[in-house]
């Protein structure tokens, strides 16, 4: 029990911690936070240790104290107006949960290097994978590890092959624009992950030339690197996500993305009709309000800890989780939206607001709600809706 008490909180329950200043709409003030970080004020606990350490069991209660308190355990700078008091409150409860879960997980895994897929494991994953086991569970449950084992040396070979200069250029454009608010992506950082980010994206682009590179993939690769601290594993997790778990969100036609936006529209029409009505009344297309949710898999949309909890389930259960999350958030804000939204910009604003605040920050209860609130949602239902929506989009396009 005490083993964890000193653990600096894995963040995410704090407010808007992973959002860039741009996203929060307060572009000023960023420098201030940065300065404070650089001056190293309020030294404290959180932080990540060096590479590879993240894989070791003992590393999650990040034992180093390299970061000041203005940076969360994943390297994201906290906003200047970060509410430490609320954060402490949330964390005191969440830490107890984490401690409990960590003990259970340790017993369950007992040094094993793979996870079985069964109801117990599913329940465990839904309650959150401790960060020290995340790489293992993601790799194993998603099948990425199997791919890696079957293709030894593949990552290095695709990385070493001749690169398409156009692809390389496109990726380079986004390197400095990936998590600039994360200390791990600063060139000044000794553990700067930018080179790794570049490698993973270039390798993936050549591995899957029909997809190449699509904006949004930079954030996905970035978060995978933050968690795994391992290029090759990040590559295979990305391959599994984009190649098998998700439909074709990132291909040039973005047909999978357009389809899933419409699928969400159908689900909302069925299950949260009030919001559907507001959308229709103001002529808001789903692409306007939720494309980032799908493309970034909630990165920079929801707090990072919540995103990681969602990804736990995404790797284990598949893409329907994305709909569960969306439906839960939208349902929660149905009344407010019906009340307030009077125009298209109002609707957009509502959709932004619903990704903020305690409802999504308090990730443990939130993750419980996504499995109860929207009701049953089988993969078969999703598959059927996808087929219908895809056909409709193709018919409209031709």
């Amino acid at each position: 029990m005490d083993r964890r008490r000193d653990a600096p909180a894995p963040d995410g329950t704090g407010s808007s911690l992973s959002r860039s200043p741009r996203q929060r709409g307060s572009s000023s003030g960023h420098g201030g936070a940065k300065d404070r970080v650089e001056r190293g004020e309020r030294p404290c606990s959180p932080p990540l240790k060096g590479k590879a350490d993240a894989l070791s069991v003992s590393s999650f209660p990040f034992s180093g104290s390299d970061y000041p308190v203005t940076v969360d355990p994943y390297g994201f700078e906290r906003p200047e107006d970060f509410d430490f008091e609320t954060y402490e409150q949330l964390m005191s409860e969440y830490l107890a949960v984490l401690t409990r879960r960590a003990i259970k997980w340790s017993k369950l895994l007992k040094g094993k290097n793979k996870v079985d897929k069964n109801n117990k494991m599913k329940r465990y994953v839904r309650k959150g994978v401790p960060n020290e086991h995340r790489t293992l569970v993601w790799m194993s449950a998603s099948g990425a590890q199997q791919q890696l084992d079957r293709n030894p040396g593949y990552y290095q070979s695709v990385l070493g092959a001749q690169h398409d200069p156009k692809l390389v250029d496109t990726i380079r454009t986004d390197l400095n624009r990936t998590f600039p608010e994360n200390v791990l992506f600063r060139k000044s950082s000794s553990t700067c992950l930018q080179k790794e980010l570049y490698n993973v994206l270039v390798a993936f682009g050549h591995h899957s030339p029909s997809v190449g590179y699509c904006q949004g993939m930079n954030f996905i690769a970035g978060l995978l690197l933050i968690i795994t601290r391992d290029e090759e594993k990040s590559f295979w997790l990305m391959e599994t996500l984009l190649g098998r778990i998700l439909p074709d969100y990132y291909s040039p036609s973005m047909l999978g993305l357009k389809t899933d936006q419409e699928v969400l529209g159908e689900l909302v029409r069925e299950r949260v009709p009030g919001v559907s009505g507001v959308m229709a009344e103001h002529g808001v297309m789903w692409s306007l309000v939720v494309s980032r949710w799908f493309i970034c898999l909630y990165i920079d949309v929801l707090p990072v800890e919540t995103v990681l909890r969602i990804w736990d389930c995404l790797f284990y259960e598949g893409s329907k989780i994305l709909f569960r999350v969306a439906l839960t958030i939208i349902h929660q804000h149905q009344a407010a939206m019906e009340e307030e939204a009077r125009s298209l910009p109002d609707v957009c604003q509502s959709f932004k607001r619903m990704t903020l605040g305690p409802f999504v920050e308090d990730c443990h209860p939130f993750m419980q709600k996504i499995f109860t609130e929207p009701g049953s949602l089988s993969m078969a239902t999703i598959a059927k809706l996808r087929a219908t929506c895809r056909a409709r989009i193709l018919a409209e396009g031709s």
Partner: protein, 267 residues
């Protein structure tokens, strides 16, 4: 998706929720301009709506006079387009907040907008500015929004030749999807850079002449011509909306007269 397009026209304006108790909601739901068919079927719940083509402006019942930015007389939709990384978001943030924070921007995914109200000859003009992802594959997502835009700012990066060359492709896209009388301006951004510059100002001017659109070089970093670009648009849109034959405004002339060169820039 297209089911919804029919009623899209009416929704283009009005304020964000935080300010919608201003002119957005008060007054009659009447709108000015001809009804060009779009959006005419359904009564708008919002006081402000755009019915017509790109000059389909709106005169909510003038509750304005207040100096607060909550109030406005007319509203327009402006879109920023151009290749990935040319500085669309930076330009918008510079205009909206007067700030430029190097290294604090992230790639724009999808589409987003911000509002800013400008005082144009004592008329409060609200610009609803749409920022779009520049990567080519996102165009199939974003071009659906061109249709309602009153003005488009097409950006390239003076340090990136490809982004300059691609303006032709962007123009084709604009011609295909935007309104015919959309106000269009070409901007060569990052004009503060000297060493890395690969597109000469004259090249931009030549291209703009060929396109028949006003042109200026801008810098989101220094602030050069940023205000001017948006103000010029706002002036043009406002003058178009008055339909007063005596009230002539020449966008080209105005831009040529006001524009500053990179050398004399002051932020």
């Amino acid at each position: 998706m297209s089911r919804k397009k029919g009623i899209k026209g009416k929704t283009a304006t009005s304020s964000t929720s935080s300010i919608s108790s201003g002119s957005g909601r008060s007054g009659s739901p009447a709108t000015s301009g001809r009804s060009a068919g779009k959006g005419s079927g359904k009564a708008a719940r919002s006081a402000v709506s755009i019915t017509g083509q790109s000059n389909g402006v709106v005169h909510p019942s003038r509750p304005s006079l207040s100096c607060g930015s909550d109030f406005y007389d007319i509203a327009f939709k402006v879109m920023l387009v151009g290749d990935s990384g040319v500085g669309k978001t930076c330009l918008l943030v510079r205009f909206k907040d007067g700030a430029f924070l190097a290294g604090s921007f992230i790639s724009t995914v999808g589409i987003d907008f911000r509002n800013k109200v400008l005082d144009v000859d004592e008329v409060m003009v609200k610009l609803q500015i749409w920022d779009t992802a520049g990567q080519e594959r996102f165009r199939s997502v974003t071009h659906a929004y061109y249709r309602d835009a009153h003005a488009l700012l097409l950006l390239y990066d003076v340090t990136n030749k490809a982004s300059f060359d691609n303006t032709r492709a962007w123009l084709a896209e604009i011609h295909e999807y935007a309104q015919q009388d959309v106000v269009l301006m070409l901007l060569g951004n990052k004009a503060d850079t000297t060493h890395e510059r690969v597109v000469k100002k004259e090249d931009g001017e030549r291209l703009a002449k060929e396109f028949g659109v006003p042109f200026m070089e801008t810098s989101a970093r220094s602030g050069l011509n940023v205000e001017l670009a948006f103000t010029a648009l706002a002036k043009e849109l406002r003058h178009r909306s008055t339909k007063d034959p005596n009230d002539k405004f020449k966008l080209h002339d105005y831009v040529n007269q006001e524009v500053k060169g990179a050398s004399c820039c002051r932020s």
